[in-house]
């Protein structure tokens, strides 16, 4: 086994920023807005670096798909301990319509090219909340998937994954190579240290075009309209349970 891990990192609007919708309702405002690495991607990077520190994998490669600024996100991953980066250049209209289907095709192509043993992704991105890329990538590669992972341990050439599901925790054992997606409780991402930030400058980031990987970026989706959530309406107080049930019936909720 190559001992190589691909970690996908996505550049998203920072979680603390107040999101605004563009006046033409076509999209969310991103110009001049603070961006950072998707929090679940940070957890994914941390897990990959931990595996390397335990000497269970040999190399961690951080991958990001997007415009020039995506390189900042890759640098953050390098400062956390990734060995090198791959920047898949996607910009303009292609970037606006970039979604899980396209990214999973890219990740699958890179996994074959790099002979990766693992792909670790965040379970979802905080901008689109799709929760699809990991699953689609596994399907395209015909690899097993351990999604919503809150615990990962390697056992020879198999992986034990504890998954957070609606009913509680599910433990599965899957073969490698495999796709894993990180859930919140998998680990606590480390801060980059000052020396690591300086070392990251020397690490390489390769530039790749989707066409070089033979990936077609056309989207099957068209965004019709983006709107803010409706303003919260005032509630009303009722005196008795009968009142409450009657009002719920009137509103068609019951």
């Amino acid at each position: 086994m190559s001992g190589r891990v691909l970690v996908g990192v996505k550049r998203v609007i920072d979680y603390a920023v107040k999101i605004r919708v563009k006046p033409d309702n076509s999209a969310v405002v991103t110009d001049g807005v603070k961006h950072s690495m998707n929090p679940f991607c940070e957890i994914a990077v941390e897990e990959a670096v931990k595996l390397k520190e335990k000497k269970l994998v040999k190399e961690v490669v951080a991958v990001s798909c997007g415009p020039q600024q995506s390189q900042e996100t890759i640098r953050t991953a390098l400062a956390m301990g990734a060995d090198r980066g791959i920047h898949v250049e996607v910009s303009g209209k292609d970037y606006e319509s970039l979604g899980p289907l396209q990214v999973s095709k890219i990740m699958a192509a890179l996994a074959k090219k790099e002979e990766a043993q693992f792909i670790i992704l965040g379970k979802q991105a905080i901008d689109d909340d799709c929760n699809q890329t990991g699953q689609m990538t596994a399907a395209l590669l015909d690899w097993p998937q351990g999604t919503f992972a809150s615990e990962v341990s390697l056992e020879g050439d198999k992986v034990m994954v504890v998954r957070e599901i609606d009913g509680g925790l599910e433990t599965i054992r899957i073969n490698t190579p495999a796709v894993l997606t990180a859930d919140l409780r998998l680990n606590t991402p480390r801060y980059a240290t000052l020396p690591n930030i300086m070392k990251a400058k020397k690490k390489k980031i390769a530039n790749v075009k989707p066409a070089d990987l033979g990936v077609d970026l056309t989207s099957r989706l068209e965004v019709l309209r983006v709107e803010e959530p409706p303003q919260r309406q005032a509630g009303m107080k009722v005196e008795t349970v009968e009142d409450l049930v009657a009002k719920l019936r009137d509103a068609g909720k019951v």
């Binding site: 405002v29 020396p195 990251a200």
Partner: protein, 419 residues
Amino acid sequence: MAVLGPLSRISRLGCNLCRNHRLVLNRSSQKRGISSGIDPSYGLTDEQKEFQKVAFDFAANEMAPHMAEWDQKEIFPVETMRKAAQLGFGGIYVRPEVGGSGLSRLDTSIIFEALSTGCVSTTAYISIHNMCAWMIDTFGNDEQRKKFCPDLCSMEKFASYCLTEPGSGSDAASLLTSAQRKGDHYILNGSKAFISGGGDTDVYVVMCRTGSKGPKGISCLVVEKGTPGLSFGKKEKKVGWNSQPTRAVIFEDCAVPVTCRLGNEGQGFNIAMKGLNGGRINIASCSLGAAHASVLLARDHLLVRKQFGETLANNQFLQFKLAEMATKLVASRLLVREAATALQENRADAVSLCSMAKLFVTDECFNICNQALQMHGGYGYLKDYAVQQFVRDIRVHQILEGTNEVMRMIISRNLLTES
């Protein structure tokens, strides 16, 4: 009826003019890519932005949630500071071969400014610790550097800077703590006042008199806690800076090996002053962080609090006050960063710029934080709100590391002796 037409048009025009002061919260400024100018990451290199990001994240996650408790309970947050040291914040401008991070003064300023938004008092102590580590790294011989710097950079051990005495503050060169040479030891007698970290720290960088009167008779000794004859006064009760203990440091026939002297006899005052140049930039940077946090708090409050039927943000006086605060904040930031660059490059104007930066920035940032408190109204006076702690914590920055009056002495002296 005809007369009503023009009248109603005029009154509508008047209404429009009155409405000018009202905030039009359309997204126009974001569409045109216009920003407020107060973002501290403008003009920085990508690497500096990374340093700043780590410092901001650390401040928000590890310091800000505890800042009030550390202040109220007077806790010296050793574990948190050691976590900061693991990231490289223990010896930011100390050379890497003895465990430091080897960064520039500007990088340091950026880091302390960001950390300060989480807790001014703790960040200010970390900056004093850094200053001491740098003094040993720069003026110590190889043995001394290897002995002290690695532990200081990892914050395995903590340091204190001892210059001020009960009888000599601004007139630092008149200090009286004596160091009599006896064989291969100096015997120290005297006391230091207002020592940050005093009693809880391990390594004391002490300016003492080995020669005759005046600055040329002063040397710099490194004294370790536990040395017989070294004791401490009671912990002082302060208005702010409560996450660091302040005590008198007392020497009674305290024997210190000659091998612990940094540099030559008579070089101590020079070492102390060189340390303070950087210390002044660091303290000014801490004031900057507090002011930045206070401006953000004030802005948020103005957008939320309503009186007289509208948000405070529609009040022209408050709009203008906020504008003044933001302008002084940015001016302060530019001055500190220029002083840091001058010091890094060893420019001839470095000392003057460091003094100017300390003077201007500590004064202006205190005013900014104070104004922010005022804008919060009664809430600003409650300890539940952070703005009062920023005010209390940075008030002392106008006094220590050289009072702002002494800064004026330095600046005017350099001006008048220039020609």
